[in-house]
Subunit: 337 residues, 2 copies
Amino acid sequence: MVEVAGRVDRIPIIAVDAMGGDIGPGVVVPGAVDAVREEGGFTLVLYGDEPAIHAALAGLDTADLPITVHACGQAIDMGEPPAAAIRNKPDSSIVRAITDHKAGAVDGFVSAGSTGAIVAASLIILGRLAAVDRPAIASRIPTVSGDCLLLDIGANVQCTPQHLLTFAQMGDVYAREMLGLEAPRVALLNNGEEETKGTEVMVAAHRLLRASDLHFVGNVEGRRLMHGDADVVVTDGFTGNVALKLIEGMAPFLQGVAERRVSPEERAVVLPALRILQARLDYADYGGALLLGIAGVSVIAHGASSRRAVRNAVLAGARLAGRDIPGRLGARLAAGA
Amino acid sequence: MVEVAGRVDRIPIIAVDAMGGDIGPGVVVPGAVDAVREEGGFTLVLYGDEPAIHAALAGLDTADLPITVHACGQAIDMGEPPAAAIRNKPDSSIVRAITDHKAGAVDGFVSAGSTGAIVAASLIILGRLAAVDRPAIASRIPTVSGDCLLLDIGANVQCTPQHLLTFAQMGDVYAREMLGLEAPRVALLNNGEEETKGTEVMVAAHRLLRASDLHFVGNVEGRRLMHGDADVVVTDGFTGNVALKLIEGMAPFLQGVAERRVSPEERAVVLPALRILQARLDYADYGGALLLGIAGVSVIAHGASSRRAVRNAVLAGARLAGRDIPGRLGARLAAGA
């Protein structure tokens, strides 16, 4: 039996790192409060510098909301080497909150802090699910018909075919449980549609996926990644990171083109359209990235998260905890192994 | 001394594979004729099925233009395994034209046919430049300030750090000679800006690039790839292919969003803007991809090339031949080795 922190038989308690993000408590606290006020169904614990959190809470009218504050004396900066930061800052919001998650005091963790520190602390403190050699970071990306889940987007720059199969199985469970899909379409990001395409690892991964009980729809090329052909797209963390960031860069690129490469008359046509399109491309809607394969719930919001992005990441954490996604992942992978 | 086919001391003669592309002579021939009529400065030889070429030429009023036809009895299809196709079809337009290039009868080759067949035939018949272990395919991609050269986009799915250095040196020569840049900014596509980021190959490539005499500006992430931070961006052919195709997929993605994810009122705002933006994203402007590192000029136009895309690819071939880019590349690499 896989032991998972915070197995939920109560209203989930979600730990939020108030110190994360480029702006910190000033954005994270209002975003987290929005989540608990507008959707509810969970209890919020804010980890971080107590005076800063209370200052951010002031004026938000939170008297009737299930919110508590857990004071921490340290914070991990975005640029700190993760392993050293975790070792040297036991009283940081990230380490405290994840330690509480491990102990079962909270059921999920959400942070807009350093991805490296969140991943390292989650791995070291919560540990991996029994059947998972390498956890992966998953993110939803926009498509013409909605969105799909892309993983890995950066936890593992080098992967074996077996790692990629595990990522696919984790994405499949996520898509079934969180998106309500009966037979999620799984694809492999590759440089061609034919099964012989790609590196040796990709060719072997294609074979493993083809032989699995997943609904594998084959390779998907970059050109079709955002065209809604798949619900789960699997790749190594290097390629996935480049692809995700290219997609994130689309809106600023289009904005830059509108500002620098069109005439004033054309700009008047383009700018209102970009506002409409950007609302469909905004990662704030996607609830942060998820660390799948650890024995707990760890949601990584973008460092540049807006209040709305934090809100959605906290809600994603509450839903993952409420549906016990780590437990379901563990059971699925143990059965498949 | 590196022996390069078609070293130019005359008006360049450009061989065009009339059978290439999804549509063939009906698009390729008018596009090539446009190039020689509107810009000139080179002689055009059309390789392929003679009746089909003459049918396509009919009505184009080419009597005064320097155009000849080289009849070929075979054509290589897009899906054919490249090595077998080259072996079994010696009278195909691709094999005939590249063989004539090797013999010095023409100075450059342009095709919208099978990339695999063009690369294989170029490698086998023309051969590599002396200092080049692996030729690379380079393509211009749009940025907020113009464009940059991305390579490799598919010739080598796995690369060593030394391969990536050679790609950078070739991109540097291209940017100096063809774009007129004095000190082209060279970057490495990676999953983070820090020099420790990426796979072992990328970390080692970063070190080689840093130690080279190139104007290396460091790693570029996907988010900044299209932001004009570099003139030449180096990557392996797997990552480059995914990235290029993602960029090519942007315009159809936006079109799909406009058709499927916005209201009719919003669509009326978005569609005119997309027409403006797509004109800045259109790969037809970029003159096809270039196979750099072979002893000759080989330009690979997109299979879905429009007449204008073929025109620009033919002009790119004429300029590469006219400036003797293979010879300059060979000299630069021999000096640097």
